[in-house]
Symmetry: C2
Subunit: 384 residues, 2 copies
Amino acid sequence: MELEDTLLMMPGPVPVAPRVLRAMSKPMINHRGSEFAAMYDDCREIMADVFKTKNDIFVISGSGSAGMEAAVGCTLGSQDTAVTLENGKFGERFKSIASRYGKVNPVKAEWGHSFDLDEVERKLEEGAKILTLVHNETSAGILNPAKEIGKLTKKHDALFIMDGITSIGGDDVRIDEWGVDIAVTGSQKCIAAPPGLAMVSVSERAFEVMKGMDRMPYYLDLKAYKKSADKESTQTPYTPAVSLFFALQESLHIVKEEGMDARIKRHTTEGAAVRAAMSALGIEMFPQLKGETRYSNTVSAMKAPEGVSGDDIKKDMKKRGIIIAGGQDQLSGKIFRIGNMGNVMPKDIMLTLQQLEVVLMKRGVISELGTGLEAASEVLDTLL
Amino acid sequence: MELEDTLLMMPGPVPVAPRVLRAMSKPMINHRGSEFAAMYDDCREIMADVFKTKNDIFVISGSGSAGMEAAVGCTLGSQDTAVTLENGKFGERFKSIASRYGKVNPVKAEWGHSFDLDEVERKLEEGAKILTLVHNETSAGILNPAKEIGKLTKKHDALFIMDGITSIGGDDVRIDEWGVDIAVTGSQKCIAAPPGLAMVSVSERAFEVMKGMDRMPYYLDLKAYKKSADKESTQTPYTPAVSLFFALQESLHIVKEEGMDARIKRHTTEGAAVRAAMSALGIEMFPQLKGETRYSNTVSAMKAPEGVSGDDIKKDMKKRGIIIAGGQDQLSGKIFRIGNMGNVMPKDIMLTLQQLEVVLMKRGVISELGTGLEAASEVLDTLL
């Protein structure tokens, strides 16, 4: 029996609201017509508030990784250096991308550990054109101190490139206040549309840097996106994924209806609720915090309990119709992760935690039910 | 009154069948699970017949241009030369892309004119790693002789890269027989899914060439697509546009139900019907044919009649609820184009031609109605 009714509690793709699915299924339109232009304009206007920026925002038909590459590929020449900050899979991805375009001077922390900001500054002092940071490192459930790193980057006159793929639209992000020159997010995370679109904000300063580039990617050339967006009738340079734009627009309307302040409060409260439950159940969080580094509010990463693989927990949960995530690459089996991005509501958190308690009980990790639920409920009820 | 009921007769995006729209609106799934893998496998299997190839086929979440860049960026190093064939906007695009990666030795014909195959051979003799060809040049309504150019390319040991974006799935295309090393198509053309996916077939020989490349794009790295597709559970390297895959799968099921032979016959007959109508109405076709070059069977490009701009015809048709295309760039105003890609049926052609006759009558181009319709009907009725 296939009901198409699985509860996605992974860190993206996230559940898509029925009204967004309906919007997406509208008949096709001409992507060069006024109807498309109005839709794109509407999306860009709402996103200005989501990103908290006056910078131009563009939508690329491609995944978040395409957005990351656009940011790096348009600013890093073959003789330029990128300081790449890595404490998880996506920080590593930025390094891989940068190494295809120029030189890299990486700052490496263990996955899930905090960066040493003195080391970041030393690397910047060695000379860097850009610095790349993953704000919310999904793979490790850690929220990196973007504001502090932004200050260091500005002090050393490098461009600040930030992957906000799993924070923008859910957690507190301030692109202009933090001095982020290029910020990237994806449609299928906190904004809760289907996957397939990357949204990228670009500062004037970043566009200045692009003028001096000798070689740029083509499909991911941000100057082309600006040129098309600046036309009298707003366009994209290449055929956009029109149906996903229908979905994005409807998702952004939901964001606007909730309001960014309420949306951030909901995400942070839900993240806190998951952590409160884990603490009550004796499950350790995976990240090692230091300084201004915080636990992610949109995806919680927990150490697999003694004698149980994170993948087993994931599999047990799947049998119960709830999809959570395990660990990726070097963290495979060692952790399990629960996402609460997008339009995940408190009731979804409670169901997930209730079933997780049952799974942990059957695996002999805990000996009574309800402890985690009680702790989470107390936190979540502050939203009422 | 907005009925969302406009008839798209442009060369893409094309009308999307209601059953495809419904399939697309399924709730989100985990893109790393078995359900996604089965869907991707199913799409790849059907596409092998559509492309007529034994080569691997991958799906990139991005537009057709992303597929074109993947083909060129993965094979053309900075010291390598591409012979780029250009007789329209998309041939020019291949040249632009190639010039970002390596050297170009272009073969230029006037837009809509046939290539001089002796010139192609001379350029190949000067040494080329790859040759790029747009099979069906959408901007000019011309079908270039892929088979003949494939032979020349093979003779001179270059890789044959072909944009089949507006021919694959509609017209007669034989990837293996013609020796196409990398072929690209897009979801929103003859396959009639929404835009946002590029499908790319890659030969073993092309993968061999990629091994020697010092620098490759990241998001468009075809080796990464192969690695992920070769996993036990088929994947894409970056988060795929899952909803568009739902749509692609359903669209491919429609293709399979019709059968490729019938589908090609329908497209070629419809193209012939449009041309028969134009001939009867005294409207000239735009392309200048020579040798094995043919009129496109999926998009017909006509010269704007004396004293009337192609854009006026387009605007008049739009008022009547039918979207046709004008000319792009240097052809702006000079031509108008009618697409019949995907699931456009004879009745859609007849309605379009009937309204076009009315428009031409009002503009004083023709003096009686019905002549074009009669000619088209005779051709279309061979499909019954």
